[in-house]
């Protein structure tokens, strides 16, 4: 059993106090909740600055830049190459610093260059990859041979009609049919360039039924997710009470 020190107990109690401050919002908005909320916003921002500095800024920019300036003092290598390396290391930092021009209305347009750089890179990277993973691969996986589905369903039905034990393959085959047809009908529902009438209307209707089943499943899982978060906090509070008991040997 881990020994709890008095210092640990104070920290744990402060965490429990803040937990209750947040829970107090369930009764109504109050100064304790507001205090905890604003404290967290400030602490979180300070935490972000520290983590960004230690994990990212130093080893990706400051250290390479420092090394490239130091290299100027070494006799090996051409000066042009060394200046090129310095510029290569300096440029992203300058682009980043340009972002701060947003705080001044007269020069805020300069930050567009940095945003343009980031946006261009992200969009260029996303274009082929999202098409590949979200469209091509998904459409390919949907290319299920209907003949294979019907033959499996038919074989199982034959067993059923002969009072045999179903291997449930009929329902698996039917499920594959749901995927094949359901995905297309779901897409038909979201296609607003054609009126949802006739064949299109029928497909859209099946689509919305399939979507409702999917959203229902999501809702069911969402409930589990939220309850799990509450259980996490209760686990902490139980641990806190145990720690008090351990410390005072209750």
């Amino acid at each position: 059993m881990q020994l709890v020190t008095f210092g640990d107990l104070i920290w744990m109690t402060s965490a429990a106090f803040l937990t209750f401050c947040i829970f107090s919002f369930l009764f109504r908005d109050n100064p304790f909740y507001r205090f905890a909320e604003h404290l967290t916003v400030g602490v979180s921002a300070g935490y972000w600055i520290a983590i960004l500095y230690h994990t990212s800024l130093t080893d990706l920019w400051l250290e390479p830049l420092g090394a490239s300036f130091k290299a100027l003092g070494h006799p090996e290598g051409s000066i042009i190459a060394k200046i090129g390396v310095i510029l290569l290391n300096l440029t992203p930092g300058l682009l980043g610093l340009l972002m701060f021009s947003r705080f001044f209305s007269k020069t805020s347009w300069i930050s567009r260059w940095s945003i343009a750089f980031y946006l261009g890179i992200s969009c260029g990277v996303e274009l082929p990859l999202f098409l590949q993973s979200f469209v091509v691969r998904q459409v390919a996986a949907n290319m299920i041979d209907p003949r294979a589905i019907f033959s499996v369903m038919g074989a199982d039905l034959t067993v059923l009609f002969n009072y045999g034990n179903s291997t449930l393959l009929f329902w698996q085959g039917f499920g594959q049919l749901i995927i094949l047809v359901g995905s297309m009908c779901g897409l038909a529902y979201f296609y607003f360039s054609a009126e949802h009438k006739g064949f299109m209307g029928g497909a859209a209707k099946i689509g919305i039924w399939i979507l409702m089943l999917g959203f229902g499943a999501t809702f069911g899982y969402t409930v589990m997710s939220r309850i799990s978060l509450l259980i996490g906090r209760f686990n902490y509070l139980i641990g806190w009470v145990s720690a008090i008991g351990d410390y005072f040997r209750i």
Binding site: Y47, Q132, S133, M224, S225, I227, S228, F234, I238
Partner: protein
């Protein structure tokens, strides 16, 4: 029961509902009953894949969760790490969610110590870099580009485990524990562009979204929420760990939520559908 009664039910102060749900969630946590947890095939796939790996193989277990999603994902990540370390697999980890960097580092250290694992030889923690979609792409070329050093400031080439390990092609698989939409980037970039075998451990909210990728074999396994964590704990023989112990409370709370839905709907119809929210 009269209409007046159902009107009263419809108008009940929501704080009473909060109190009920708080009590029904808390009480089962005081005594562990141990309701049986069924294993699903999507969780077993992840377990089987790790089980099949030879000792010394490198597995990447990137973790993207923060205190908000830790209740669901921490039990899952701990179970996966325990499984990897018990099989003497080497673990490479990152944390792309800034609020979880310290949390994940602590977990990795504590669980590695349980199995006597040595940093740099048995596991490496690369730490955090912002804009994970860009970092994922860069890691596909060479880990050293976005991570010249690890979280502790060691050069990657100085770490015995990282010798000859350049990118995803040197990994057996990736088991990403993710509480953000960043899971999409792992599918698109790590698996889509570089073909890395990928499994996901996600919050329950997100889990249903990834069945399509399971069916298309873009991911080889899926662990969803606290239930998924409980299944994994059961598979590795740790039935009394936190996810399993929490399933009793999850079960009771679910039953009450369903009762709320049913009672709410009965009240809605019994009041002649007059009350519309």
């Amino acid at each position: 029961m009269t209409q007046a009664f159902w009107h009263k039910i419809m108008d009940i102060d929501r704080r009473w509902i909060y109190l009920v749900i708080g009590i029904v969630t808390f009480v089962p946590m005081l005594r562990y009953i141990g309701m049986p947890v069924q294993i699903t095939s999507e969780v077993k796939s992840v377990y089987d894949r790790i089980e099949s790996l030879q000792p010394g193989t490198i597995v990447m277990v990137p973790m993207e969760f923060d205190p908000a999603t830790a209740a669901e994902l921490q039990p899952m990540s701990r179970a996966i790490l325990r499984h990897c370390f018990s099989r003497n697999l080497k673990v490479l980890s990152t944390a792309f969610m800034i609020d979880g960097v310290v949390l994940i580092e602590n977990d990795l250290k504590v669980i590695a110590a349980e199995y006597g694992k040595v940093y740099g030889k048995d596991y490496v923690y690369l730490g955090y870099k912002p804009y994970m979609e860009v970092v994922l792409l860069n890691m596909g070329e060479n880990f050293r580009k976005p991570f010249p050093k690890d979280y502790y400031g060691n050069k990657l080439d100085d770490l015995p485990m990282m010798k000859g390990v350049n990118n995803y092609s040197n990994l057996a698989c990736i088991v990403n524990v993710n509480g953000t939409s960043g899971a999409d980037f792992w599918i698109n970039y790590a698996n889509g562009r570089y073909g890395a075998p990928l499994a996901l451990g996600v919050t329950a909210v997100m889990a249903t979204d990834y069945y399509a990728f399971l069916q298309s074999k873009q991911i080889f396994g899926l662990i969803g929420g606290l239930k998924g964590a409980a299944e994994y704990e059961k598979l590795i023989g740790r039935n009394k760990d936190i996810a399993n112990r929490s399933m009793d409370a999850v079960s009771v709370a679910h039953v009450f939520i369903i009762l709320f839905i049913i009672i709410g709907n009965i009240a809605f119809f019994a009041t002649g559908r007059e009350k519309r929210i």
